[in-house]
Symmetry: C2
Subunit: 147 residues, 2 copies
Amino acid sequence: MSAALPPAPPLRQALEVALYASDLEACAAFYDKVIGLERGPEVPGRHVFFRLGDGMLLLFNPEASARPPGNPALPVPPHGAQGPGHLCFAAERAAIAAWAARLRAAGVEIEAEFDWPNGARSLYIRDPAGNSIEFAEPGLWARDPGG
Amino acid sequence: MSAALPPAPPLRQALEVALYASDLEACAAFYDKVIGLERGPEVPGRHVFFRLGDGMLLLFNPEASARPPGNPALPVPPHGAQGPGHLCFAAERAAIAAWAARLRAAGVEIEAEFDWPNGARSLYIRDPAGNSIEFAEPGLWARDPGG
């Protein structure tokens, strides 16, 4: 099928990644105060957005984001997932160790921390909504793990 | 509280972004054949991973990824969301127009397409699992929209 389609422009970056939290403000405070991300636009009760490099981490209250859009000029499609999602931040090994120290000092439990078979390290915590948040070395997904 | 914590190493990139699909293979075929992402590692029935720049788009069957890990050496924490999630790919305006042509040719409905107040364009579709997938100009989140 794909051979008959117009070409696919290359996609190289997720501009927005989304997580969901029914207790939006408690979870937003975690990404602000503990994870240290810069807060961006927000609509109280619906979402708080955070800057992540050139893109954004979008934190939504799924009950609110699942409602149909109210502005005909900006017909943003509804969405809203329930249950624990997953996001992984890129962090080098020394930064992962620094994150472990900071997270423990903030009272956040380290759920898992280990090296993958290719040598890359991962550390896992939960955000207040129960999402599985990982910090991993970019080499985890290198095409040549020895490079 | 944050002032008393060890410093937060800067986070600039999502290394992994996750979406969920109970019909894993149908959804994986969409990201492979229509979206044109390169398939990476997979565990049949549990997940299919796709390369996205230096990172990965992780597509999980939430019923499988929610099970506790079985390998004590790799205690990957369980997760698994239900219902429509959201992901936005970065694409310039000309690429968004090319995506619209390709998606329509593939029989994918364009759910919404509009310009934001700062001039950036967004196009929205649904993947086979119902996730809201957006293609948006990076300028949407530029600090200086006029720049």
